[in-house]
Symmetry: C2
């Protein structure tokens, strides 16, 4: 078994209303100095050792990321 | 300016219906060998150099994670 993390973030040119809401809320909660926040998703997968990197890319592309508006990155952690 | 990533994941003892839905969908889409999926959130923050680690922990705890059901981790990436 291998552990894999897939990080999915909105593309740079895509507006991120959730992140902007957080940037707006921070000063009201007394936190200064945060210039920008972007919110994305993080998936932790437990996969068989038989699953190779090409297969993982296909899984991320087909099911975990919306490729029109999101970038993704597959990282093996163990 | 420093770049900080906050990773937020459901606690191990918390059910994760989104992750389970993905585990169920994978075989139907022709992907075998994925035993478990957990879905969480990932935040990328741009912060002033004046914001220290204690402040970042407070921000994560107050605004980014639901501390009842989620674990979080603050990682400085640059």
């Amino acid at each position: 078994m291998a552990r894999v993390v897939v990080e999915v973030m909105p593309k740079a040119e895509i507006l991120d209303p959730q992140g902007q809401a957080i940037v707006g809320a921070l000063p009201r909660l007394g936190f200064a100095g945060v210039a920008d926040v972007r919110q994305g998703k993080r998936f932790e997968l437990e996969v068989d050792d038989s699953v190779d990197d090409a297969e993982l890319e296909k899984i991320a592309e087909a099911l975990l990321a919306n490729t029109v508006i999101e970038d993704w990155k597959v990282v093996r952690v163990s």
